[in-house]
């Protein structure tokens, strides 16, 4: 932790030396999208020409595409010309000055989640100079990473300072033509994270957007690129369990992971965006493309996600198992309550020999929510001895919700072994009565049973995150029974 108060002061002051934030503060683009908007966006960010050209290529391709409609979700048409593709971060003067000015309901949730006091202010968007602690922590982390040679910075900074790396890897996992939302993201992405772990380096700490300076206002089109060079290890934590303040309804993020030979990437997400009210009003539409490429032999990519927020979640973190003996994992808990809709799952594409993948998906539906698992396991002809194990469990709370499972399997090599197990269960009256007869309230009993159901996934989360995730689940399902 940071030392005395003069340290803190100097660190805080140093933050203001970062030109990036102040550079863009004066600009904002009117709603609408055309090539002019993209050129302006790129210019505001001071991007090199390759970046602008890539954005334009993506935009031109996007114009030829149609919004997908195969997912098990329903929403009114999105007006892409009604969105402002660049808005300056709110200046500190517009932000709440202290926690007293923040919505008490939000604070109540922080309290239930056990978020430390000094973090609450930052999460609620209180002006940052009031929050010394988290800034100093973040800056200390940065120094330590630099020592290990790890690059961890905002995407827009990487585009300028690490252009050759960005140019080499950007779009190499999720090409700009990939799908409607990813293509849109490629044209207009606002910011995000960039991570590079050098050869043989074991990243000395969990990397977290939580601690990334500038994490606020990455906007609705976030872009993340993580490269683990040969023999390196990294664990990356996205999001946080606290509900995020966000005025944008549409989110279309792209995450690309690249694991070279013997490298390992563990990517954990806790997503808790505003799900809308009980009647489905408001709420975030979350259309995300996340894909990892196990490019080198013996590499490993592991996705763990806990999805409780958003009105609509459309998300399939996937692994392309190219390298021999590479391993892909997907552990997911997706909760849908009230009117939420979730269509989520994974794709495991086996290309290399002896590649292995594991899928554990836990879907929980409550209220009138619809929860779908959609997964693809594809074994290519050259993927001799490929192995997959899929376990897909759904838990229903109440009578008006739905769980759907859409598993796809394409096996083109006779030596492959693919296993799929699926269950659907309800929290039974008997289970509830049993717990209540032992003095445990109905609400606590539901939480206990749900957490038990998710245990295999929570086990994969970093320790302190796992505890928060449990609390989060409890908050998300409040009032789901009874």
């Amino acid at each position: 932790m940071a030392g005395n108060s003069t340290d803190i002061e100097s660190l805080v002051n140093r933050r203001y030396q970062h030109g990036f934030v102040t550079d863009i503060e004066s600009d904002s683009l009117p709603p609408g999208l055309d090539e002019g908007v993209i050129e302006a966006l790129s210019a505001i960010k001071g991007e090199p020409d390759f970046m602008l050209q890539w954005r334009l290529k993506a935009y031109r391709h996007w114009l030829t595409m149609r919004e997908p409609s195969w997912a098990h979700v329903h929403y009114p048409p999105i007006d892409y010309q009604g969105i402002s593709y660049f808005s300056a971060p709110k200046s500190d003067t517009d932000k709440p000055k202290s926690l007293d000015e923040v919505d008490p309901k939000l604070l109540e949730t922080y309290d239930k989640l056990g978020i430390p006091l000094h973090e609450r202010a930052r999460l609620a968007g209180v002006a940052v100079d009031a929050v010394f602690d988290s800034v100093s922590v973040a800056t200390t982390f940065k120094a330590k990473l630099k020592e290990a040679g790890v690059i961890f910075c905002p995407f827009s900074e990487a585009v300028r300072d690490h252009a050759p790396l960005v140019q080499k890897y950007l779009g190499s996992v999720v090409p700009y033509r990939d799908n409607f939302f990813a293509t849109l993201n490629s044209a207009v992405f606002s910011d995000g994270s960039f991570v590079y772990i050098p050869k043989g380096v074991r990243c000395p700490m969990e990397l977290s957007t939580y601690f990334r300076i500038n994490a606020a206002n990455t906007g609705q089109f976030e872009r993340t690129l993580i490269i683990a060079d040969e023999g390196s290890h990294v664990s990356y934590l996205e999001g946080c369990t606290a509900p995020m303040r966000d005025e944008n309804q549409l989110h279309a993020a792209v995450v690309e992971l690249i694991a070279l030979q013997d490298a390992q990437i563990k990517y954990s997400t806790v997503q808790n965006w505003y799900p809308g009210d009980e009647n489905g009003k408001g709420g975030i539409y979350n259309f995300v493309t996340k894909r990892g490429d196990c490019r080198g032999a013996n590499s490993k990519i592991s996705w763990t996600q806990v999805e409780t927020g958003s009105a609509i979640t459309w998300k399939y973190p996937s692994c392309v198992l190219r390298g021999e003996n590479s391993v892909g994992e997907f552990y997911s808990v997706a909760v849908a309550n009230n009117m939420q809709q979730a269509d989520t799952g994974t794709k495991m594409i086996h290309i290399g020999r002896n590649t292995r993948s594991t899928i554990v998906s836990k879907g929980i539906s409550a209220g009138r929510a619809q929860n779908a698992y959609r997964g693809l396991v594809r074994i290519m002809p050259q993927a001799a001895n490929a192995r997959n194990h899929t376990q897909c469990d759904s838990l229903l709370l109440g009578k008006n919700c739905g769980a759907h499972t859409f598993p796809y399997m394409e096996v083109r090599n006779p030596t492959a072994r693919v296993e799929h197990e699926a269950t659907t269960s309800k929290i039974s009256e008997d289970q509830l009565f049993y717990c209540r007869q032992r003095g445990i309230s109905e609400e606590d009993a539901v939480n206990m049973i749900v957490n038990g159901f998710c245990k295999e996934v929570f086990r994969e989360l970093p320790m302190e995150f796992a505890v928060e995730a449990q609390n989060l689940l409890n908050v998300s399902l409040e009032g789901a029974v009874g």
Binding site: Y434, R438, G439, I440, D444, G452
Partner: protein, 253 residues
């Protein structure tokens, strides 16, 4: 003095069917009662109604616990007041740690009695002591609640929970069914160790066998939703010899 449990003229239905039909029963502190009766006579219903199972509707009668109207309390409130039901078919709760549930239960009761909560070390120590008494493997604590337990293991687990919760009134619903003789003895030992002047135990059982190991002060025979005969332990033996048909004849004249 007020009795611990006082049931007067209790009538209940489930759906359109009447189950308990004018049942009265008084249980005092320190007593061991056995409720016997043929299948379908309402034994398990009685146990569930006392515990507050919501599928049963009480249409008439009263149930008081130390003078307090039990029927207005939720199942969890009754449990915290010290009413324990040992289930005939303990349900499996996959993924929920046995120790976790048990500790949450113990602490729910302690909070209710304004006692300090038990910490993890204290809890483990206490649980190990009680498990030794029941010949249970300590590994039990780390398994999912009843998950993959054999019939005997489930029943021992119920007795372990009872021992940890130290209820004032323990109702054991067919705890003896499906047990081999060793398990039966272990369960009986656990129950006998619980007998005390400020606790009452109600054994719901179909057979006399359990009563060879746990001696009741009172035996009641249930038929068609009411108690048709009460007596001491000799009644159980007589039943065993003559069968429930005998009671039916006696009652119907």
């Amino acid at each position: 003095m007020t009795a611990m449990l006082e049931i007067r003229d209790l009538h209940t239905t489930i759906g359109d069917t009447t189950i308990l039909d004018g049942l009265s029963l008084t249980v005092g502190s320190g007593e061991v009662h056995a409720i016997m009766g043929p299948n379908g006579s309402g034994k398990s219903t009685l146990a569930q109604v006392i515990a507050g199972h919501e599928s049963h509707v009480v249409t008439a009668g009263t149930v008081t616990f130390f003078g307090r109207n039990l029927l207005e309390l939720s199942p969890e409130e009754r449990a915290r007041e010290g009413i324990f039901l040992g289930f005939q078919y303990p349900v499996e709760i996959p993924g929920v740690n046995n120790a976790y549930l048990l500790k949450a239960a113990v602490n729910a009761r302690r909070r209710h009695m304004a006692q300090p909560e038990i910490d993890a070390f204290e809890f483990l120590k206490l649980a190990r002591e009680k498990m030794a008494l029941l010949d249970m493997d300590p590994g039990f604590l780390n398994r999912g609640v009843n998950e993959g337990f054999s019939g005997g293991e489930k029943k021992r687990n119920e007795i372990l929970q009872m021992a940890m919760l130290e209820p004032r009134l323990a109702i054991l619903d067919e705890t003896d069914s499906g047990l081999d003789i060793d398990a039966l003895k272990a369960v009986a030992k656990g129950v006998n160790a619980m007998c005390s002047p400020d606790r009452a135990i109600v054994l719901v059982t179909h057979y006399q066998r359990l009563l060879n190991y746990i001696e009741p002060d009172h035996v009641h025979v249930l038929q068609k939703g009411r108690i048709v005969r009460s007596g001491d332990k000799t009644l159980a033996l007589e039943l065993e010899q003559r069968g429930y048909e005998w009671i039916r004849e006696v009652v119907n004249g």
